[in-house]
């Protein structure tokens, strides 16, 4: 009925999960006197013992005026009768309503628990899948290794080509240098020879050679005229 402070974890061993609440409370007769009292008196006085005790006590209280009958007695009697009538009439309905509330609470908690279990199960499955994926790691690494090897090969070949080109350029330079030197030497020698030859032709020699040429030309013209 009232769910208030229940001491949790008071013992050294904490029982988890907590034990469920008991179904019914302690037995109470007439709503006021616990059953243990009747059981306590049963061995000595039998079944009617507690009732005798109650009647005797009541008569004693009334006769000795320990319980005084005044207006409050009448009020208490009326209130008690109304309460008892209400409990007897509507007790079961209220109990059903409270039970329904409890059911809803428990259903909610159960739903949360089930959802938690389901989510954890899916997490476990995903974990297993990840573990299966790990097996394919070797293929992945092989592919990566191949890529890297190809990159290294490409780089090596590029550098090889660069080296080849550089060396060729240097050799071409040397060849061009030698060619240029030989060319220059040739030109210089030709010029020098021409210069010396022209210098060696004295003016007397020039006049003689020109006269010779004129004579030769006259001879040739004569032979040509004769041919025509």
């Amino acid at each position: 009925v009232l769910h208030t402070t229940r001491p949790l974890h008071t013992t050294q061993q904490c029982l988890a999960p907590l034990p469920p609440l008991p179904e019914k409370g302690g037995e109470v007769r007439y709503g006021l006197i616990p059953e243990e009292f009747f059981q306590f008196l049963y061995p000595k006085t039998g079944v009617t013992g507690p009732y005798m005790l109650g009647t005797g006590l009541l008569l004693y209280l009334l006769s000795k005026e320990i319980y005084v009958i005044n207006h409050e007695t009448v009020a208490a009697a009326c209130i008690l009768s109304v309460i008892i009538y209400g409990v007897k009439k509507y007790g079961s309905d209220v109990a059903a309503f409270a039970d329904k509330l409890n059911e809803e609470k428990v259903a909610k908690a159960l739903a949360v628990k089930n959802e938690a279990i389901n989510s954890l199960e899916t997490a476990i499955e995903q974990e297993k899948k990840e573990q299966w994926r790990v097996e394919g790691r070797s293929y992945l690494f092989d592919a990566k290794r191949n890529n890297i090897a190809m990159l290294l090969e490409t780089n090596y070949r590029e550098r090889l080509l660069t080296v080849y080109n550089e060396v060729k350029k240097r050799l071409d330079y040397q060849v061009a240098l030698q060619n240029l030197k030989r060319q220059k030497e040739q030109d210089h020698m030709i010029q020098w020879v021409e210069k010396n030859v022209i210098q060696s032709i004295t003016p007397q020699q020039q006049k003689d050679s020109i006269g010779k040429c004129i004579l030769d030309l006259r001879a040739l013209s004569k032979s040509a005229q004769a041919a025509v």
């Binding site: 009925v1 319980y67 208490a76 409890n102």
Partner: protein, 84 residues
């Protein structure tokens, strides 16, 4: 079991003084005893799945008796009885 760990209902009449001697009568001890009694009452009659009127009705009856006992002096005075 040992005397100090039994609850009052299991103590025999002859052992009552010895049991009282083992009790802790300091304020904290008394408070702890009251706490234990309250929680045991709760666990027996109130913290159940299908309770009935017994849980609160016993508390109300106890309250009625206690208040009657506190006001007995005032109720039993003649002036009070005549005025009503």
């Amino acid at each position: 079991g040992p005397l100090s760990e039994r609850c009052l209902m299991d103590v025999r009449l002859g052992e009552l003084p010895a049991w009282l001697a083992t009790c802790n009568f300091s304020p904290w001890g008394l408070l702890g005893g009251v706490q234990k009694a309250w929680s045991s009452y709760y666990d027996k009659y109130i913290n159940v799945k299908r309770g009935g009127p017994a849980g609160i009705s016993m508390l109300l009856a106890g309250y009625c008796l206690l208040s009657y006992g506190w006001n007995y002096q005032h109720i039993s005075k003649i002036s009070f009885l005549v005025s009503v």
